[in-house]
Amino acid sequence: MGDALLSRRGILAALASLPALGAFPAVAAARPVVVTTAKLAAGGFGIVGIDADGQASFVEPLPDRGHGVVPRPGGDDVAVVARRPGRFGYVVAGDTGAVRAELDLPDTRHYYGHAAYSADGRLLYTTENAFDEDRGVLGVWDAAAGYARVGEIDSAGIGPHEVRRAADDGSLWVANGGILTHPDSGRIKLNLPTMQPTLARVAPDGTAAERVLVLPEELHKLSMRHVATHRESVAVAMQYEGPEGDIVPLIALTSTQGTTTQGTATQGTAPRLLDLPEVLALRSRQYTGDVAFDPSGSVVGAGLPRGGFFAFWAAEDGRFLGSVEAPDGCAIAKGREAGGFVISTGIARIGHVSAGPNGVAVRWTRAPEVAAFDNHLMAAP
């Protein structure tokens, strides 16, 4: 035991005496397959592109910790916004990370961490806290006008976190977590007993948001945080604010179809709630951090960073397909083939997943330039 420790120390000492890694000729990285925010090995935070072997195609610093990244349809712009309650937002080139535009956020707003483009790529929507008014908004930016701020719409709920565009009709879907916070109080939650999370839909014309999915009263502490879309399908990933021992569903599946309006109330399709096997449910701490569909739309995957695993379900019937062990794993996005996903972890791993009725397999790569991958990633455009 002592010998092993000594020899490991010997190795560490030998490594420490080597010149900095930067002094070695870099392995030429290929095109990025993933773009994501990260904590950098060299210190600080940035946005990085990672190739299929885990090598960094680009590393661009950010002023602080970033959060969501989203590609612009029909181009290679990538929008990135700060982690809440941060206030920076940039548009960068998807292949180099070079900054193309900076979003100029009003003083009375801070970002919640996510953004989505309109189907034509013209408008960018960012989730924001209008913190002195106790309400959530979507900031609207015009990509064709150098990302000038051209308006905002009410998110129809408190605490809008992720917004995603539905693939079939271009409507936007917003997960309003329902939790009231204020920058004066940091990340402290101010309204848990009365919180009311909602899923809201913004019509394709981008004019107004309306609530379409409100959970049953007994599930009012299931904070809706993240959204994934595929054709008419919408998946919502949730975080439970009630007691730890409760076992509650963490993923809700619904549809853009069948949304009806009666008077002032809009009724969405009744959600299908996905379950985990009990042991995993307890490990999860009732907390999901990200959600995605595979390219075929037949598999739903979610990252559960507190449980240290990713879980996968069949979209058709909600059947649990399997899980991947991943310490501090959170980010998940669509991969390239049916059943495919890319995932990442807080210990700097990127995984390429294949999930289907026969189970779940993963191939891991490690990124030497990165200390920790952030909560979200996207497949490179």
């Binding site: 021992g245 490990r283 990252g303």
Partner: protein, 352 residues
């Protein structure tokens, strides 16, 4: 800033050492049996005394008697002695919010009290609005209420506080699967924790949340963003002038938690003992000193926070307290946690 700079200089120089396998079980028992359960016992006793005092005063045709005010202060301070525990029975049925709904930026408490007064008759407090069930509502009745005319609301609030305190204590200690067992015997099927590391994380989360609450809610909100823009009525418990005493009680509770309820300075229990058993003597000494210095600074604030935040002479003391509480929290998260084998994940933060 001097204190912070010194702490950071010192703790970056500390050696990283391994944690011994027998540390966690004894540590969890120290924290639970030495701090958490005694804190809930005290809360149960003090809320019982409060309920009795309110009943006696009301029977005598008054509400805001000296005896009621004293019992009220002791009960709220006992709650401050236990609110660093954020897992388990206190989270069942929204109890932590029913005991103290605060801050109340939308004035829900006032509105709920107006509703109860307009309805009349003894209210079923346990199923009334969350805001009207706890200390802040009772404080309004005692300190700016209508005296004996409010007894029909004050009596059930006090009685319900005592009921909730009793239920929390019972659920921690009694029955087939007390919450105590879920923590001290993780993986036994008694609860939601599988390892000592998970039990410790659950307990440590509360200690850091309590320090965060002191900083963000109790100190910085009334202090305001810039000097000269203090908001005295944002202080906790400004009506009863208990704001600074509550901060001191919070700090005392976290210190007692850290020391596993040790009663004498030379007795080493809890996290102090765990660090020393793991060879982290310098860190343990630093923590003891950090708690002592921070509490001494808190003692220098010789009036309620609502008065202190508008007195320029107090500004340096409050600034120093903010700095020291920040440093304490940073030490616990960045040094004590990793030293006992727990570390927060990069991606496991609330809400993102």
């Amino acid at each position: 800033m001097r204190f912070l700079a010194v702490l950071f200089t010192v703790f970056w120089l500390l050696p990283a050492q391994g944690v011994r396998a027998d540390v966690p079980k004894e540590l969890v028992e120290d924290l639970v049996d030495g701090n958490v359960i005694p804190a809930y016992r005290a809360f149960e006793a003090k809320t019982g005394a409060l309920a009795d005092a309110v009943t006696t005063a009301c029977a005598g045709g008054a509400l805001a008697t000296d005896a009621v005010k004293a019992a009220f202060a002791e009960a709220w301070l006992a709650w401050a002695g236990a609110r660093h525990v954020v897992k388990g029975p206190v989270t069942f049925f929204d109890r932590q919010f029913r005991i103290q709904f605060w801050p109340d930026s939308r004035n829900r408490i006032e509105r709920a009290l107006i509703d109860l007064r307009s309805v009349g008759g003894t209210p079923d407090i346990a199923s009334a609005a969350v805001g009207v069930q706890g200390f802040p509502a009772l404080e309004r009745l005692i300190y700016e209420g209508k005296g004996v005319d409010d007894c029909f609301i004050a009596r059930p609030i006090a009685a319900n506080l005592h009921t909730m305190a009793g239920e929390i204590l019972t659920e921690w200690t009694e029955g087939d699967s007390p919450f105590r067992k879920a923590l001290v015997a993780p993986g036994s099927g008694a609860g939601v924790y599988f390892t000592y590391s998970e039990s410790l994380t659950a307990l440590m989360t509360g200690a850091t949340a309590s320090l965060e609450g002191i900083l963000r809610l109790r100190l910085k909100r009334p202090l305001g963003e810039e000097s000269g823009h203090a908001r005295p009525n944002r202080a906790e418990a400004w009506r009863s002038e208990l704001s600074m005493d509550l901060v001191r009680a919070d700090l005392a509770a976290v210190a007692d938690f850290y020391h596993g309820g040790a009663e004498a300075p030379e007795e080493s229990r809890g996290l102090d003992a765990a660090l020393r058993r793991s060879g982290e003597t310098e860190l343990a000494d630093l923590m003891t000193k950090a708690f002592r210095i921070t509490r001494e600074t808190a003692d220098k604030v010789d009036r309620p926070l609502s008065a202190a935040v508008v007195d320029p002479a107090m500004q340096p003391v409050l600034d120093e307290l903010v700095t020291q509480v920040s440093a304490l929290k940073a030490l616990i998260v960045q040094k004590v946690g990793p030293a006992i084998g727990i570390a927060g994940g990069f991606n496991a933060m609330d809400g993102d």
